[in-house]
Subunit: 130 residues, 2 copies
DNA sequence: TTCGTCGCTTCACTTTGTGAAGCACCGGTA
DNA sequence: TACCGGTGCTTCACAAAGTGAAGCGACGAA
């Protein structure tokens, strides 16, 4: 199905965007490519995003290439290398990634336990309806 | 598995954040709740997000409640009503959602075709590696 | 009685993601 | 010669997540 195919409360562009970069691992891949804003090879990306499988990495790279968030460049040495780099469209996701990083650092429990549901807010004590 | 359980290129908080709000439909639900910043009922959310099924809506609401992004309030009338509203933690996602909305409006093809891969950039013509 | 609304839950089915292995190519080592 | 490791993927069988449709108990309206 195609989500966002109706006008219901949120604009379809936002919906398309969140369904695109919200796909599993896509946010992590984009963040790694944004980190230094340098081209990355397949194995570098795989190494930089721990739980990511080869299959999904190649799938995501193809999706992002189709959506023109990144470009693929093949360097024919004798050891052929493939590099992926963000396009301007992809690079323009930097504010989104930074905002989400900021939110994560502010609200996600980071130091000790790896578990969830830990109140870690800065002005905590009113985590209720308001 | 738990993604982000290694330090590999991106901070685990960001990873947790993107995997949380990047879950399917979650971004749309949060955006609707942010839209007016008013409590919403189950059926309102369902109506506001077209393709979303009841099952996933209730699942997402529970996840977001567990993560303390929203609170659930039961109003016992004779017609019992359940309202969901963002907590401060959830409301603090507003910059993220706004940034992504902005990106979507800038880069996502919106007017005519519903298809993808349409160059629609503002300073378009250099969608390549740079 | 029958109908509809409320907030869900349950069902069978499809799509998506998983770890592990494999593949064609290359250069180095033994 | 055979083997080894690294490159960028692809393929496989299986598990998890998402799908549309139906159902559920409580209630009010016709």
């Amino acid at each position: 199905m195609i989500p966002g195919e109706g006008t219901g409360g949120c604009c379809p562009q936002y919906h398309r965007a969140v369904e695109l970069i919200g796909r599993r691992w896509t946010g992590a891949i984009v963040a790694v490519l944004l980190a230094e804003d340098a081209p990355r090879r397949f194995s570098e990306l795989r190494a930089a995003v721990p739980g990511l499988s080869d299959r999904v990495l190649s799938q995501r790279l193809r999706e992002l290439e189709v959506e023109q968030l990144l470009g693929r460049e093949v360097h024919a040495g004798p050891p052929v290398r493939v590099e992926y780099a963000l396009t301007p469209k992809g690079r323009d996701l930097a504010p989104v990634v930074r905002a989400l990083e900021h939110w994560g650092q502010r609200w996600m429990d980071c130091g000790g336990s790896g578990s969830l549901a830990v109140a870690a807010g800065p002005s905590a004590d009113d985590h209720r309806l308001g």
